[in-house]
């Protein structure tokens, strides 16, 4: 069974007429990494928000099935507990909520929702220590409120740390490379690659091919004006890098 199956998905912003997604079809199987590339305004972020359940969007047509269930019927937190994870393009600061409290609350809420035992504090600390070392996240950062005072790179690493701790089945990475210098990009990519497994799937949304040098995809899709206009292997990303999006944009129009 596929992890994610999107069929003829049409989406518009609530209260507006223009469709942002105009018939997306995408099947993601366990173990696969799919890259979705496209110019600004092609609908990349909308796709990631719709998958995670943000409520500013209206689905006018189509379906999204996650592990056989209707994803669109699920609440935001239900999706997360079922294993859908969105690494945000712009992770926001949450003053007053310590990162550790946040991580523990999230992990235990998910475990509880799945009918699993909550993790004890020592067991939880051990998990976080291991995963944060891999991502070169200092313990001091974890004592701060979520993302408060973090640099752009630190915020992205913190997102990947959350992903590593929560161990989702479907990881959606929304422009995780934006705002990263090359060193930070490598650390983030290593963190993501460490999570690749035969049971887990990833959808990597990016504007640039650069990230895909480090997170090598199995499939590449070009999104333009709300539609997937071309799909191919990892070589498609290189082709795009050379010729630009223009060819595809015209094709879509």
């Amino acid at each position: 069974m596929s992890i994610l199956e999107i069929k003829n998905l049409h989406v518009k912003i609530e209260g507006e007429d223009t469709e942002i997604l105009r018939g997306i079809d995408l099947t993601v199987n366990p173990g696969e990494v799919h890259a979705i590339m496209g110019p600004n305004g092609s609908g990349k972020s909308t796709l990631s928000y719709v998958l995670s359940g943000k409520d500013d969007y209206e689905i006018t047509e189509g379906s999204v099935t996650y592990k056989g269930d209707d994803l669109l019927e699920m609440e935001v937190d239900e999706r997360a507990s079922a294993g859908v994870f969105l690494a945000f393009q712009y992770p926001i600061e949450i003053p007053g909520v310590p990162t550790m409290t946040f991580l523990r609350t999230a992990l235990n809420a998910q475990r509880k929702a799945r009918g699993e035992e909550e993790l004890t504090t020592p067991a939880f600390m051990k998990v976080v220590r291991e995963k944060s070392q891999m991502l070169k996240i200092r313990q001091e950062m974890l004592k701060r409120p979520v993302n408060v005072g973090f640099s752009g790179g630190e915020k992205k690493r913190a997102e990947i740390l959350q992903m590593a701790v929560l161990e989702p089945s479907l990881c959606v990475l929304d422009e995780t490379d934006s705002g990263l210098d090359i060193d930070a990009l490598k650390i983030v990519a290593e963190g993501v690659n460490a999570l690749r497994s035969p049971e887990r799937a990833m959808v990597v949304i990016t504007h640039y091919q650069r990230l895909l040098n480090y997170i090598v995809p199995d499939h590449v899709h070009v999104l333009s004006q709300g539609r997937i206009v071309k799909s191919g292997g990892k070589e498609l990303a290189l082709e795009l890098e050379e010729s630009g999006y223009e060819n595809f944009t015209e094709q879509a129009a």
Partner: protein
């Protein structure tokens, strides 16, 4: 101000019930109950045409007769013990003094055993009061213009008199329990005298069953000597039918440190006044508080800070979380007298509105007559940030729990002002669980 020609039923009961009550209440020659009643009779209950009571009209809000409680029998010990056990301080090593329906209960209390602190029940010690008690009781509270304080003196049945002569090791919790029963007014008094260089930590818990219909009137006087340190944490969790009227008057010696925090989640109507008077230089006063109100609860915090001498600081930080039709009021008056140079005063009141019909009224008043001071105030009101909620939920945290986290984060800045880490943890826990225990109407 003149007496209102038409008394409300509440005022009528207060005035007409005095003679009988006076005979039943503990007495002492120096205790001027009659004068206090006369002052109340002159003033009546405060109402909205008095500027300081504009948002909290007691003539209107105290909605019937609440005769003074004079009966000293203890009805239901088990209920009292169950209520007292709800205290957020229950997990902290502390001494306790328990008052039930306006009477001290020694059998339910565990008074401090260390020599640095002496705790007396007022009712047992009025007639033969030690000098520190008779000289200080009523010394900080002005009777003439405060009807609620006058009423308190006229009817007070008991309370605690605390004398601190050294550095206390163990905190003391004053527990005020009210049982259910007929509508009544319970007036109690607390006097805390802290000697030069002495220190203490006092907790206050107010609790009752949900259906307790009473007016709780508590006047607290704090007299701090030079270099004295006073930490005060109060939780007001009176029943949802109750009216809670509290007056805190503090007189601070030189280089003293006064830190008072209150968490209010109970009572139908509450008005908490704090008056701070500086009697010496280089003194710090910190008053902070958290309000967690739902339904039609009305919570008012009114502060009057009088910088009468130079080189002192004052800090006020209040956070209000208002759900349903709840109304929060913050009034902060800071006076800096002409010679009170180098005064450093800051004030902040912030409200989080969880429902469209919740209301926050804020009235900062700064009267500055000195020219070399740093003073500031701020007030904000806002809703929960949808993006923050989404972020938390996108990590699997259910909506209620996510809101609770954000509420605790919002009030956390005020909770930070509390000195004790164990108490801060207990307060954060209380704020986090508030939403689930007070979930009523539609949330945003």
């Amino acid at each position: 101000m003149t007496a209102s020609p038409n008394r409300t039923p509440a005022e009528e009961a207060f005035v007409s019930g005095f003679a009988a009550a006076e005979a039943a209440l503990p007495s002492a020659e120096w205790l001027k109950r009659k004068q206090a009643l006369a002052a109340f009779n002159e003033l009546g209950l405060p109402h909205r045409r008095i500027e300081a009571w504009k948002y909290t009209d007691l003539r209107n809000l105290v909605d019937g007769a609440y005769p003074a409680q004079t009966d000293a029998t203890l009805v239901d010990v088990e209920q009292v013990q169950e209520l007292a056990a709800r205290s957020i301080f229950a997990g902290i090593d502390r001494a306790t003094a328990v008052f039930v329906d306006g009477r001290f209960r020694s059998e339910l209390s565990a008074l401090p055993e260390e020599s640095a602190i002496e705790v007396l029940s007022l009712s047992d010690n009025l007639a033969d009061a030690p000098k520190w008690l008779s000289e200080n009781l009523g010394s900080v509270v002005p009777q003439a213009d405060d009807a609620v304080a006058a009423l308190n003196l006229a009817y007070m049945s008991d309370g605690a008199a605390i004398y601190v002569s050294g550095k206390c090791e163990q905190p003391l919790e004053l527990v005020f329990v009210h049982s259910s029963g007929e509508p009544r007014t319970v007036s109690q008094r607390v006097l805390i005298v802290v000697d030069d260089e002495a220190s203490c930590e006092i907790y206050e818990t107010h609790v009752s069953p949900a259906n307790g219909r009473y007016v709780s009137n508590v006047v607290t006087e704090v007299v701090l000597g030079d270099k004295a340190t006073f930490d005060h944490v109060k939780t007001q969790n009176d029943g949802s039918e109750a009216v809670h009227l509290a007056n805190l008057h503090a007189k601070l010696g030189a280089e003293a440190k006064f830190n008072s925090f209150s968490a209010t989640s109970g009572a139908r109507v509450s008005r908490q006044q704090a008056f701070v008077e500086y009697a010496g230089e280089h003194t710090d006063a910190n008053i902070s508080g958290v309000y967690l109100l739902a339904d039609k609860q009305h919570g008012d915090s009114t502060l009057v800070i009088d910088h009468a001498v130079p080189n002192c600081t004052s800090r006020e930080m209040f956070k209000l979380v208002l759900n349903d039709h709840a109304r929060g009021v913050f009034q902060g008056k800071v006076t800096v007298r002409p010679h009170a140079q180098k005064t450093d005063g800051k004030q902040m009141a912030q409200a989080l509105l969880l429902a469209p019909d919740a209301e926050f009224d804020s009235k900062p008043e700064l009267e500055i007559f000195a020219d070399d001071v740093v003073c500031g105030h701020g007030a904000t009101a806002g809703e929960l940030d949808e993006d923050l909620l989404f972020y938390l939920r996108a990590r699997g945290i259910p909506k209620d729990q996510a809101m609770a986290l954000l509420i605790a984060a919002f009030v956390g800045e005020a909770v930070e002002e509390v000195s004790s880490e164990a108490v801060r943890d207990a307060l954060n826990e209380m704020a986090t669980s508030w939403l689930t225990t007070h979930k009523t109407g539609a949330l945003c």
